[in-house]
């Protein structure tokens, strides 16, 4: 009798208790399951792979530790091509990254202070390259910069008719067309041009958002004190934009060091990455190691961890630079 009355009570208590306790975990679990499968597992697997050799076509059973354990890293770091791709990556990151901000900040300032009701139109227009598919952009670039029929070379050939421009394409018949998508002198600048065009608008919009958070009172006070527009820009706008500048700079640094899809499509090859690997980035080198001619998963995984360390170091340096340049009065 006692037991029959107690049992349902226990079940009820358990069920409601379980509901209350477990429901939040149940609701949040899809994220953790997805993260474990698509986030955590690849990270752990690539770490194991960085210390292993594996012929991917032969199945997981052929995966084994390398001896010595660091030999994949040794192989990558002593690869002459790795030095080239490292140099390429930094070259492209700096040459395409720095101008983005040098143009975006003044442009955002002009938009904020000078442009009235058309501001939203410009904001949307600047975002168009950012939201367009990389594949579409790279394919259009390929057509525009193709050697013989590309609009750019045809324009340069036409400009040859004018005295000032006649060395643009050396041979008037067009035999000396610039091979934008192959010649080592042009591949990196072309990538930089593409990256600059694609991201400067995005950064401009971010800076514009930052500018809108600066109170007008500060500018009014400055005007009362007789500050010129330049002085206002230099002493008010730039310092107060520092948090946004930190955010956009980190974004540019991480994005440019991981650059892959643009160069993959533009310089699919052969040779992959343009003449003498002139535009091959670490991202493309990693991909080629895994899926290209080398078919070396261990080296590819080691490359990905080297890239991770590089990105981490550069991010820490950027962090330190921004902290050092911070106004002590803000602290």
């Amino acid at each position: 009798m006692t037991t029959t009355t107690k049992q349902p009570q226990t079940r009820n208590w358990n069920w409601s208790h379980l509901q209350k306790q477990a429901a939040p975990y149940l609701f949040v679990s899809p994220f953790f399951v997805l993260f474990a499968v698509f986030g955590l597992f690849p990270i752990v697997f690539s770490l194991l792979l960085a210390f292993s050799q594996w012929d991917s076509a032969s199945g997981l059973s052929t995966m084994h530790w390398v001896k010595p354990l660091w030999s994949n890293f040794q192989y990558v770091l002593t690869d002459p091509l790795f030095a080239t791709v490292l140099k390429n990556t930094f070259w492209i990151a700096i040459v395409s990254g720095l101008p983005q901000h040098l143009v975006a900040i003044p442009l955002a300032y002009v938009l904020h202070t000078q442009v009235g009701r058309f501001k939203h139109f410009f904001t949307a227009a600047f975002l168009v390259p950012f939201v367009t598919s990389t594949v579409a952009i790279a394919l259009v670039t390929t057509v525009l910069f193709s050697e013989r029929n590309g609009a750019v070379n045809q324009l340069l050939l036409w400009l040859n008719n004018f005295v000032l421009f006649d060395p643009l394409i050396p041979d008037q018949t067009g035999e000396g067309y610039i091979q934008w998508l192959f010649e080592k002198e042009y591949t990196k600048p072309l990538v930089c041009l593409l990256i600059f065009w694609r991201y400067f608008g995005y950064n401009t919009v971010l800076y514009l958002t930052g500018l809108q958070t600066i109170s007008n009172d500060i500018y009014e006070a400055a005007q009362v004190d007789g500050a010129t527009r330049w002085q206002q820009f230099w002493h008010i706008t730039l310092p107060l934009l520092r948090p946004i500048a930190y955010f956009t700079t980190i974004g540019t640094v991480v994005g440019n060091l991981n650059l892959f899809d643009e160069v993959f499509i533009l310089f699919s090859g052969p040779p992959s990455g343009g003449e003498e690997y002139s535009a091959q980035t670490i991202g493309l080198y990693l991909y080629n190691n895994a899926f290209g001619p080398n078919q070396d998963m261990g080296a590819a995984a080691a490359t990905s961890w080297v890239l991770f360390v590089i990105v981490l170091l550069i991010t820490l340096i950027t962090n330190a630079v921004f902290r050092r340049t911070a106004d002590p009065s803000e602290a």
Binding site: A57, P80, E275
Partner: protein
Amino acid sequence: MKKALSLIVLLSLGSLSQAATLTVNCYPDVNRSIEAAIPMWKKQHPDVDIRINTLAYPDHHNALTTALATGNGAGDVDCVEIGFVARFGESGGLEDLGKAPYNAKQYQKLVTGYAWAQATNADGGLYVFPVDIAPGTLFYRDDILKKAGVTPAQLSKSWESYIDAGKKIKEKTGAYLLLHANFIALAYIRANIGEGESLFFDAKGQPMLNSPRFVKALQLAKMARDSKLDANLTQFTPDWTDALNKGMLATQPFGAWFEGTMRALIPGTAGKWRAVDLPEKSYATWGGTFLAIPKQSKQKALAWDFIRFYGLNKDVQLNSFKAITALPALKAAQNDALFRKPVDFLGGQVVRPMWVRAANNTRPFDANRYDSVANDALGTAITRVLNSGVDVKTALDEAQALVERRVNRGN
């Protein structure tokens, strides 16, 4: 109740008698060739459907790599291009067709010799079956040659006479000899493989990228570049198609299959092209397709039926040849009257017996799993010689060191 039961039994029987589906994974244009064979297959196997999954050439081989790695996702039959034969053959993920129950070695005499050799691994395993071959040939524009006063014999006598003919063509007509000087190097390397060697490796499996064969190949290419005989174009780009269309290129060294490609690519030039042997009667190969049965296939017997149907049936091979003009590896198909017919696109030239002769004179050599590594290193060496003025020996020594480094690492 009885009615319901009968209906269930009928439906179950229906599903049991449903056609089986054989999956064939391949890349273009082999898919068109297999599609063309389906009606003939259905006559023999009305209860078995063929499903063809086609991916672009690199994507198909990447997908097969992933499928073999994970043990899931491969077709019942998979196409393998010559560049991947050795790697997939050594992977352990494909059935050895030389062993029971397949016993494919009994068919060796029916298939072109060099293609059979390419299909055979260093360990004697036969993990792929050859279906189409690609003997190298030299396509040329008859009208341009006539205008320049150059004979086809001058093109094919030797590599030096080919380059001399190019100088005359450029001078008289303004047309380039060919799209890119690296084609000369690649053709020479493929056509002069020594006894026991493979394309890039010696009998011991060591790379030989700085051997005399490669040195001579790059010297010839440089000779053409220095005389401005190549248009410096990349194959399968709009600029290249445009140059072919406009008669800017007098010759095009390629696999014989390119005749069919030209029909679709540059139909306006029909009747203007002809073909001769490569210079020095160089017998070289330019591609080739093989079929394999992945170990993960659940219908291996049926898959083997399909490979025999597709690769060893003369009518099917001829039907495929009509679809994509890739030459059949099956000798019986090569002897058919169809091969003695004039080719309209080539101005009525009876050219196929020449290609068959070239194919059967090609020296057999093994594929090596590091072929793609060596090919990549060679490509860079050629570029450095042609574009950057680097000395031939220096560029080849660098390429040799790169490949040695990869081979010594293993995996």
